[in-house]
C-alpha cells in the first residue's frame, strides 16, 4: 500500500482531526491574520477531504472507520454514508466560503486580543459539527454536539452589544437542556439495546420497539434535537443569538448549526428509528409536520413584522427550518431528499445574506442593522445590494435560484403524498417570504432623502465571500441535477430496507 492510499484510508478521521489540531495552533499563533489564514486553510482542507470522501462513497457506498482500531460495535465507529458525506460537504463548504471573507469584518468587530480565540472557537465548532456528522456512535455524537454547542455559545457571546451575553446565556441554557435530553435518550436506548453504535441499535431495536422505554427514548431524542434545531415552540434562543452574534458568526451559525441539528434529527428518526415502522405507535410524523407548518407560517409572519435585518433573517431561518422538517416528516424518499437538498440550498442562501449584511455593517459600523438604515444602499453598494436581492429571491424560491429547486422538490414530495393542506401552507409561507424579502429590497432601493450617507463597497475579501455564495446559489438553481441526485441517493440509502453494509 502506498503512502497516499494509506492516507486515503484515514480521511474519515482526518476530517475531524484537522480542525481539532488547528484550534490549539490558533491559540498559540495569536496573530490575527495568521490565524485567519490558518482557519481558511483548515476549512478548505476539510472541504477537500469531504469531496474526496464523496467521490469514494457515492459510487461505492458506506465507509466504516474503526476509531483507535477497535472494531465496531465495541469501539467508536466513524460511519460515512451518502447522507453524512453530503452534510460534510455542506458544512465544510459553508465554513470555507464564510471564513474567506471573515477577516476584515472580524477585525472590525472583535478586539484584537480576542480574535485568535474566536477563530479557535470557530474551528472547534467545525470539529464538533464534522464529528457529529461522521460518527456512528450515539454517545460520541452527544459529545461532539456539546463541543459544537459550547463553542457556539462562546462565539455568540463575542457579539459587540451586551445583549449578546444574554443571548448566549439563553442559548446555553436551552442548548444544554437539549443536549441533556439527547443524553437521556441515548441512555434509554443503551438500556434497551446494550449498544451505542447507531447501526447496531437500529438492528436491535425492532424487537423491543413496543416498550415504553424505547418510545420515551425517541421522544427525548426528538425533543433534544428539536431544541438544537430551533423547531418552532423551542425556538426562542435563535432570533437573539443570530441577531447579536458578530455578523460573520451569524452567517456561520445560519449555515452550519441548525443544519447539523437537522442532520441529527434525520439520523435519529431514520438512522436509529424509522418513522415508517408500523410498530412505532406514535403520531410522530403528524406532530413534526404540524410543528413544521406552524414554523413556516408563524415565523414567516413574525419575519414580516421585524425592523432589524438580522432578526428578520433569523425568523426567516426558522421558517426555512420548517421546510426542512416538513420534508422529513413525510417519511418518503422524495420528502427526505427535498429536506436534504434544502439543507444545502438554504445554507448557501442564508450564509450569503448574512455575509452581505456583515458587509453593510462593515461600512456602516454598529452591530445591528435597521431596515431604515439600508436606505440608499443600492447607490452606495450596488453589488452588495445585488447579492442581497439574489439571496432574497432564493428565499422566496424564484426560479433559477437554489431556493426554487428545493421548494419544487418539496412541493413534488407533498403532492406525491397527497397532503394538499401542507402544499397550501408552503405556498402561503412563500408569499409571506415575498413580503419580508421585498421589505428588505425596498429598503435597499429607497432613496436617502436629505441624509447623505457615504458608502463604498465592502473590501475585496467580503465581496469574494458574498459572490462565491451567490454564485453557488445561482449555480445550484440552474444546474441542480447533481445536487438533486446526490440528495436522492442519500435519502435512498437511509430509507433502504437493509440500510448499509453488515457490521
Amino acid at each position: 500500500m502506498t503512502g497516499l492510499a494509506l492516507l486515503l484510508e484515514q480521511l474519515p478521521a482526518l476530517q475531524v482531526v484537522l480542525p481539532l489540531l488547528a484550534a490549539p495552533v490558533c491559540v498559540l499563533l495569536r496573530r490575527p491574520n495568521l490565524v485567519w489564514a490558518l482557519s481558511c486553510l483548515t476549512s478548505l482542507g476539510c472541504l477537500g477531504i469531504a469531496l474526496t470522501l464523496a467521490r469514494q462513497i457515492y459510487p461505492h457506498g458506506v465507509i466504516s472507520y474503526a476509531m483507535g482500531g477497535w472494531a465496531p460495535p465495541f469501539g467508536i465507529e466513524y460511519r460515512l454514508d451518502e447522507l453524512s458525506v453530503f452534510m460534510l460537504v455542506v458544512v465544510s463548504l459553508a465554513a470555507s466560503l464564510v471564513l474567506i471573507g471573515a477577516r476584515q469584518s472580524i477585525q472590525r468587530e472583535i478586539p484584537a486580543d480576542r480574535i485568535h480565540l474566536l477563530y479557535a472557537a470557530v474551528l472547534l465548532m467545525l470539529t464538533g459539527s464534522l464529528g457529529i456528522i461522521s460518527t456512528g456512535d450515539a454517545f460520541n455524537l452527544f459529545v461532539f454536539l456539546e463541543i459544537a454547542s459550547l463553542s457556539t455559545y462562546a462565539l455568540v457571546a463575542m457579539g459587540r452589544q451586551r445583549r449578546a451575553l444574554v443571548a448566549a446565556f439563553q442559548y446555553l441554557v436551552l442548548g444544554t437542556i437539549g443536549g441533556t435530553f439527547i443524553l437521556i435518550g441515548v441512555g434509554l436506548l443503551y438500556m434497551m439495546t446494550g449498544t451505542l453504535n447507531m447501526q447496531d441499535m437500529a438492528e436491535r431495536l425492532p424487537p423491543v420497539l413496543h416498550t415504553t422505554t424505547a418510545l420515551a427514548a425517541l421522544a427525548f431524542l426528538v425533543i433534544g434535537a428539536a431544541l438544537k434545531l430551533a423547531l418552532l415552540p423551542l425556538h426562542i434562543w435563535l432570533p437573539n443569538a443570530y441577531t447579536f452574534a458578530p455578523s460573520m458568526i451569524s452567517a456561520l451559525l445560519a449555515a452550519i448549526s441548525t443544519k447539523v441539528a437537522a442532520y441529527v434529527l434525520i439520523r435519529f428518526v431514520y438512522g436509529i428509528y424509522d418513522l415508517r415502522w408500523s410498530g412505532l405507535n406514535l403520531p410522530l410524523n403528524d406532530v413534526l409536520a404540524l410543528l413544521a407548518v406552524a414554523a413556516m407560517l408563524f415565523a414567516s409572519y413574525v419575519a414580516v413584522r421585524q425592523q432589524e435585518v438580522k432578526r428578520l433573517l433569523a425568523w426567516s431561518s426558522l421558517a426555512q427550518i420548517g421546510y426542512i422538517v416538513l420534508g422529513l416528516s413525510l417519511a418518503t424518499s422524495a420528502g427526505l431528499a427535498a429536506s436534504t437538498l434544502h439543507i444545502l440550498n438554504h445554507a448557501v442562501i442564508k450564509a450569503g445574506l448574512f455575509v452581505a449584511v456583515a458587509a453593510v455593517l462593515f461600512r456602516q459600523g454598529g452591530s445591528t442593522l435597521q431596515l431604515a438604515d439600508l436606505a440608499g444602499l443600492s447607490r452606495g453598494m450596488p453589488w452588495t445590494t445585488a447579492a442581497i436581492i439574489a439571496g432574497g429571491l432564493g428565499l422566496i424560491g424564484v426560479p433559477l435560484t437554489a431556493g426554487f429547486v428545493s421548494k419544487w422538490a418539496l412541493l413534488q414530495a407533498l403532492i406525491e403524498s397527497g397532503t394538499w393542506l401542507y402544499v397550501a401552507a408552503l405556498l402561503a409561507s412563500s408569499l409571506l417570504a415575498v413580503i419580508y424579502v421585498w421589505r428588505i429590497i425596498e429598503a435597499c432601493t429607497a432613496s436617502t432623502g436629505d441624509r447623505d450617507i457615504q458608502r463604498r463597497e465592502a473590501p475585496l475579501g467580503l465581496q469574494l465571500s458574498i459572490w462565491a455564495l451567490v454564485a453557488m446559489n445561482l449555480y445550484l438553481g440552474i444546474n441542480s441535477s447533481p445536487g438533486m441526485r446526490l440528495a436522492t441517493e442519500a435519502s435512498g440509502r437511509l430509507l433502504a430496507p437493509t440500510a448499509g453494509v453488515p457490521l
Binding site: F139, V143, L150, Y153, A157, L165, F169, L172, T180
Partner: protein
Amino acid sequence: MLDAILGLFNYWIAIGLMMTGLYIVIAHTNLVKKIIGLNIFQTSVFILYISMGKIQGGTAPILAEGTLIYSNPLPHVLILTAIVVGVATTALGLALIVRIYEAYGSAEEDEIVNKDRRA
C-alpha cells in the same frame, strides 16, 4: 405497586432530580440559580446512567479470583465524559453571568430584560 416504587427507586430519584432541576431553570429569574438548576438536571441523568450500569451482586470490573459478575463499567466511562461536558458548560455559563453582571449590574433575568427594554 410497592415494587414499582421501591424496585425502581433509582429511576424515581433520577426523575425527581430531573424535575427539580428543570423547575429551577424555568422558575428562577436569578441566572446563577438557573445554572445550578441546570447542574441538578444534568446530575439526574448521570445518576440514571450510573444506576443503569450496576448489576445486583456485581463487583467492580477488575479481574479477580472468585467473582463472576461484574458491573458494567461503560456507563461510568460515558458519564465521566458527560461530567466534563457539564463542567465546561457550567464554567462557560458562570463566565457569562459574571460578564452579564458587569454589563448590567444585575444577574436577575427580569431586571436585565427591563434594562434592555429601556435602552
